[in-house]
Symmetry: C2
Subunit: 272 residues, 2 copies
């Protein structure tokens, strides 16, 4: 068998680990691939662990025991989180974003792969210890963010829709009341989508009253599942009392002054 | 300045390159970071280039000239593509997937981060030379696939919707006729979404008649943009004549026999 040098093994190891975040690799996977002893691979992993920490590129975690191994968590340091959020606030405060009605144009941000990936890493770092089985979101604008979070946590994505389609098969339909507009809306999820007793993480781009999040919690209950975390990119400061508790928001939108062209947005509860 | 060993530099280089696919890094970016000479970094890049090729993990491309540098393209070899597509066909052929009306349940596949990433790499490898400016998709089911393709090609994603929302600002609305059902539907895209004269790649999960793809081409024209590529995960064998030409499909669904419980699906034009 071909022998590999340390720099070759380390390069391939770091690439494989970071291409499959939160997947647990056993040392055996690697000893076989490189024809190296376990002790050699362990030393390689130690080097990678230090490097990833030194360059603030996430976290390499070793898990001991029979089902043990090594995994890469694409988390973000507090310092880097502050930088990402301040940069987002800077972009979101540009007055050209103000739309009629005091809405904020932000599609260019929530559909941008690099920005969405940065935000997804913050969510992954926050929620990886919750052992979630699925990421769930409500169509449409939160899907990229929910998808990348699912990729970083190595779990499937579930998309709840507003109406059902033949290609979804039999579905559960529930009604929910939007927290801000008080309109009654429908949520639809395919019966095949979730295993019972699963732990769900709800990810969305925006939370005002919290009606969607509350609706998702109730929908999950119909499937015998539990929402164990809620992460949103932006929450509005008003109403201060949301329909759900225990959510994690990255930014708080304090207000939009259409006349003066001022958008007041700040990093949120995530830095507390 | 701290000196880094070759194995440390190589590990960080491969991680940075593969975390930002299709981004062009200059050698200067790296000489500064590591305090190393250009010739040293060049040797590192050579080693990485060989390794990535040897382990079939994509492609490292060096670009010469003033705006030159090095970039990582997450393409997939033909051999690996065959393996991915055969595995998808195996999963999609399971008779439990057949829904009333002969539809196929496939949400578990098109929302699965690992499978979607594999498919996105095939699209990235196929289309990176087209110099696209945006990935475009129609909500909802193709969004994860379109998003990961956007991430791998380092361009923004654009999501066309069925109806407009206040948060999109002023929008262009067009009508299109579904190729299979002949129903007239609406496409909506925010006026701010696209720069004129851009090159678009349309990505979707499924193509039957090609009506959606044709609608996107016409919508793009309203923005002064051009669709330079179309990639779909599955096309149906019938109708054989689609409303668009020059599309790239990974799988062909020949038919679903509800009574016998047989799904006939094969790798498509991509392997020709």
């Amino acid at each position: 068998m071909e022998k590999f040098q340390r720099n070759e093994r380390i390069a391939i190891l770091i690439k494989m680990l970071s291409d499959s975040p939160c997947k647990i690799f056993t040392l055996g996977d690697f000893t076989e691939m490189f024809g190296s002893a376990k002790s050699t691979i362990s030393e390689d992993i130690d080097i990678i662990q230090n490097l990833v920490a030194k360059f603030d590129l996430g976290m390499i975690k070793t898990i001991s025991g029979a089902s043990g191994g090594v995994t890469y968590i694409p988390s973000v340091s507090r310092e880097k989180t502050v930088g990402i959020l301040e940069s987002l606030c800077g972009e979101l405060s540009r007055k050209e974003r103000i739309l009629p009605g005091g809405f904020l144009y932000m599609l260019d941000i929530i559909y941008d792969p690099q920005k969405v990936s940065d935000i997804g890493r913050i969510f992954a770092g926050r929620f990886y210890s919750k052992n979630v089985d699925y990421i769930v979101t409500m169509e449409t604008r939160g899907i990229p963010l929910a998808f990348i979070t699912a990729k970083y946590l190595n779990v499937p994505l579930i998309i709840v829709r507003h109406s059902n389609e033949a290609t979804d098969g039999a579905s559960v339909n529930t009604s929910y009341v939007s927290g801000s507009s008080k309109k009654i809306q429908t949520m639809v999820l395919s019966l095949k989508a979730l295993r019972r007793n699963s732990r769900l993480l709800f990810i969305d781009d925006f939370m005002k009253g919290g009606g969607t999040a509350k609706g998702i919690i109730e929908l999950a209950r119909e499937f015998g599942c539990e929402v164990v975390g809620i992460g949103v990119l932006i929450e509005t400061a008003q109403p201060a009392k949301k329909l759900v508790d225990n959510y994690f928001s990255l930014l708080v939108l304090n207000g939009v002054d259409e006349d003066k062209g001022i958008i007041d947005i700040k990093p949120g509860s995530c830095l507390v």
